[in-house]
């Protein structure tokens, strides 16, 4: 079935009015030998049939709602209020708020979001969101290169490997160089930064879950005139030092832990906040407070001359569509939890992770790789191939053990715990892993 409302009477009236005999007539400008081809699609379904088909597909998946999988996304609880509020018909069915008088709802919500992200990161300016953590990193680095006029990037191996891959794609495109700083004992060593380098990138916590003191690396970057880009875990900023406080010029991160379902990898949102002096270089939309002709407070998109629809080939980025609705979910989540609630989610995730690590490292042959202190993810060395372990655990109804790329070493797997886990869950994973590794 389709969603067109036309009756046969409508069709007749409208075709007559436009001077066409039939619908095919409307395509007279097209090459006639090409139109209405066979598309090789299955037969149409009604709503009932389609939902049944999708339920059958969904039944071939197993839920990871209480999983111990990490690596950018985690199984946090999404409070029931988040989706119904953010996905209200007026929000979900709106376009980008180009007409401010008709879009005060979204514009105000974005302004509030910008404030929340600024509070979390300790940096004064947040944009309205980017696609995800990986592309936020790429955009943050491009920003740094534009600002410094330099062409080389130093990135810690502690940054998510997929983010580094995405960064490489973006940098290859403009012919910029990417160099990696290898981890030493699970942390990023402070290195010399040459004057060709425009951006230095570190992550806190890093991909292994370890907390890093990035201040010396930020200092080294600034000493040579480069900007420092921090990749953050949004939830961790409830309790951890802000990137603004340790010298980051630009903070980027993945927003999923803030009220977004994992959804097999997307959509979520990418957050980006910067120092005041970088605002004109910022990619993506920005909302400013202003007043209307009656002097009343209102909100409007601003600094639009940075963007592609005005600046075309010289825009700061080609980004147009961003991740507004999922960022709104993030804002609703933060407002629902408040500072205390967010801290409790973070604390319980941290405590659960530490208890889990303690349990799992009692299993023979299992060794913790992530150094202390660490947040809510950690890496274990397993006495068996992690992909097999992950599959064996899945057979027992537990999702855990993300295999790490070989750059980090052999037989390594990432584990995460969140506030959703109970003592029983932790014990369950321990027992299952014991069995799998026996």
């Amino acid at each position: 079935m389709d969603y067109t409302p036309h009756t046969s009477q409508d069709l007749e009236t409208m075709l007559t009015r436009v001077g066409a005999k039939n619908l095919r007539d409307l395509f007279g400008d097209l090459p006639q030998d090409l139109i209405f081809p066979d598309l090789d699609l299955p037969a149409p379904l009604t709503e009932t049939e389609m939902m049944r088909h999708l339920r059958e597909l969904a039944a071939k998946n197993s839920s990871a709602a209480t999983s111990f999988l990490g690596g950018g996304l985690r199984a946090h609880y999404v409070p029931a209020a988040v989706v119904p509020l953010a996905a209200r018909a007026e929000f979900i069915s709106a376009y980008t708020p180009y007409q401010p008088e008709a879009s005060q709802g979204l514009l105000q919500a974005i302004f509030e979001y910008q404030t929340m992200i600024s509070e979390l990161t300790g940096l004064p300016v947040s944009n309205a969101s980017l696609y995800d953590g990986s592309t936020a990193l790429a955009e943050g680095v491009l920003l740094a290169l534009r600002e410094t006029g330099r062409n080389k990037v130093l990135v810690s191996q502690g940054v998510h490997p997929e983010y580094r891959k995405v960064l490489k794609t973006y940098l290859d495109a403009i012919g910029a160089q990417l160099e990696e700083i290898g981890l030493e004992a699970g942390k990023t060593p402070t290195t010399q930064v040459s004057t060709e380098v425009g951006a230095v990138v570190g992550a806190n916590p890093n991909f292994l879950g370890a907390l890093e003191n990035l201040a010396p690396l930020a200092e080294a970057a600034h000493a040579s005139g480069a900007l420092f880009v921090a990749v953050v875990d949004a939830l961790s900023l409830a309790v951890l030092k802000t990137p603004g406080s340790y010298g980051a010029d630009i903070a980027v991160g993945e927003g999923q832990p803030l009220g977004n379902a994992m959804a097999f990898g997307g959509p979520h949102f990418g957050l980006m906040a910067v120092k005041e002096n970088l605002v004109r270089q910022l990619p993506g939309r920005l909302v400013s407070e202003t007043t209307d002709v009656d002097g009343k407070r209102g909100y409007i998109l601003t600094l639009q001359a940075r963007e592609q629809y005005i600046r075309r080939g010289k825009a700061k980025s080609n980004i147009t569509t961003n991740a507004q609705l999922t960022a709104l979910m993030g804002a609703v989540y933060l407002a629902a939890l408040g500072s205390q609630g967010l801290k409790e989610v973070a604390a319980r995730s941290v405590v659960n992770a530490h208890q889990l690590a303690k349990r799992l490292t009692t299993i023979p042959g299992v060794r913790q790789i992530t150094p202390r202190p660490y947040f809510c993810e950690f890496v274990l060395e397993l006495p068996k191939n992690p992909s097999q372990v992950r599959s064996e655990l899945a057979k027992r109804g537990i999702h855990a053990a993300v295999p790490l790329p070989s750059e980090y070493g052999h037989n390594l797997a990432l584990f995460a715990a969140t506030e959703v886990h109970t003592e029983r869950d932790l014990a369950g994973l321990e027992a299952a892993l014991r069995e799998v590794l026996a």
């Binding site: 149409p44 939902m51 069915s93 495109a173 569509t321 408040g338």
Partner: protein, 483 residues
């Protein structure tokens, strides 16, 4: 006559202004006394917590419900925003997405076979609809798809040792701004090709620019005037004759969705906007999804991973040595893919072709109605899914837009394409009834009748009236500060 101004249009306090220390909303599971300084190191902790709103759940609900009532969407009113395809987003898609919410991208592939099958089938279906040989679902939006497509073209030229010589991308002057912005991001120089008097690409001017230094031509077809480029085959032939690639910007695919395929017209690459053509909700500006389809010779260069099938098993293929790499973490905006898949399954070939045809019919019908109301149509022939109009002499487009807001409609796209002065770009889409189009056309007439003085003051009763954009640009205030 000037409409009487409503005395009270209530202020909307920020959620921060409703916050009171100690108020609690949603409470996470309790955690026993925990010494974070011991677990995380005192030196790693922030001295002050972030200042987030502290509200009870009902205040939260009323706040966002209140904000939503200060917002127009397709579900509220007619929203004929040109080149944005604001068609109805079926509610069933939200139910469909919920079935797949709790999947983690790193769970064992054998435990996500349904999700992978859906992606595999969608790759196939989108290739069929666009006439391409392979499709990647990874890009997160249209502009992201553009970048993916252009980088694939670049990798192709590279593989043939021609990258160094092909440094230029050609775009028509009517193109979306994202096209030249994308070409720049991919390291290319950009040259704009003028449109001819018929609103189509000037073929002779294009041929003069073509040569072995050209990497690609980026085209939207129908173009942003809503006109089908009738010389598309000659353009493609001329491009291919000098080794340039043809890039199809799918922003306007709704006009010809399934009726004519870019692949059959000579395009080598196409990106789709699932949030336009395939009814993924726009969500106030995203998230979207921008799959990219390519012809066989470009398949090797698509991002990694691709979803592949081996017998009855679906898997992620990372073994793609010539790939441009990854453009987004994980596998794309999967939630958007579920919605598009559901849409295609429900419509099938018949529904897809019919939807495109009725989008075109609605546009042509509305064009006739607006002419009757005194609007000018600079390129007046059978249009595709959208058309460009101009207000009668002496009226300004911005005022037309603001007048429509007062009457409860969302205005068309304004001042685009740049090649038409005072442009109003109107795209009604196929999901609107004849009566809605008639009511809208009547409103377009009514605002003219109210006269310029009324229009220049409009809107009057919206949550805010015209805003001071200059102040917002000269002295932007980008976050709330505690007063």
């Amino acid at each position: 006559m000037i409409a009487e101004k409503k005395e009270v249009r209530p202020e909307s306090p920020l959620i921060f202004e409703k916050s009171l220390p100690g108020r609690r909303g949603v409470r996470p599971p309790a955690v026993a006394d925990v010494d974070l300084a011991e677990l995380l190191g005192a030196e790693n902790l922030r001295p002050e917590p972030p200042e987030l709103p502290e509200v009870d759940e009902l205040t939260l609900v009323r706040h966002y419900t209140g904000l939503s009532r200060r917002q127009l969407g397709i579900d509220v009113t007619f929203y004929p925003l040109g080149s944005c395809t604001m068609k109805y987003n079926p509610k069933v898609h939200e139910a469909a997405v919920a079935l797949f919410a709790d999947l983690h991208p790193y769970q064992a592939p054998e435990t996500a076979q349904g999700a992978l099958q859906l992606m595999y089938e969608l790759q196939h279906d989108l290739s069929g609809i666009t006439g391409m040989d392979a499709t990647t679902l990874q890009p997160a939006a249209g502009a992201h798809g553009e970048l993916t497509g252009i980088l694939s073209i670049r990798a192709y030229h590279h593989s043939r040792g021609q990258h160094a010589q092909r440094r230029l991308v050609l775009v028509p002057d009517s193109a979306h701004g994202s096209n030249p912005a994308t070409a720049s991001m991919a390291g290319y120089a950009v040259k704009e090709i003028p449109s001819g008097p018929d609103g189509e690409v000037d073929l002779e001017a294009l041929k003069r620019e073509l040569g072995p230094h050209v990497a690609a031509i980026m085209l939207t077809n129908p173009n942003t005037l809503g006109l089908f480029e009738r010389k598309i085959r000659q353009i493609a032939e001329a491009a291919h004759a000098v080794g340039a690639q043809m890039y199809y910007d799918g922003a306007n695919l709704n006009a010809i969705m399934g009726v004519a395929r870019p692949g059959d017209m000579g395009f080598d690459v196409v990106h789709l906007n699932l949030h336009k053509t395939f009814t993924v909700p726009h969500g106030g500006g995203g998230p979207g999804s921008g799959p990219v389809g390519v012809k066989k010779h470009l398949e090797l260069f698509l991002p990694s991973p691709q979803v592949v099938r081996d017998g009855e098993t679906y898997a992620l293929d990372y073994d793609r040595p010539q790939s441009i790499g990854q453009v987004k973490s994980f596998y794309g905006n999967f939630g958007a893919l579920v919605r598009a898949y559901a849409y295609i399954r429900m419509l099938g070939q018949e529904g897809i072709q019919k939807s495109a045809a009725l989008a075109v019919l609605n546009a042509n019908y509305l064009k006739e109605l607006l002419k009757e109301q005194g609007y000018r149509i600079p390129f007046d022939r059978i249009c595709m899914h959208e058309f460009v109009a101009q207000p009668p002499e002496g009226f300004k487009t911005v005022d037309i837009a603001k007048g429509l807001l007062e009457l409860g409609f969302h205005p068309p796209t304004v001042y685009f394409p740049l090649i038409v002065k005072e442009a109003l770009m109107v795209e009604p889409t196929e999901t609107e009834t004849k009566e809605t189009l008639q009511t809208f056309a009547a409103a377009m007439g009514e605002i003219l009748a109210k006269g310029k003085e009324w229009l220049e003051g409009a809107p009057y009763t919206t949550p805010v009236r015209r805003l001071d954009e200059l102040q917002a640009n000269r002295r932007p205030k980008l976050r709330w500060e505690k007063g």
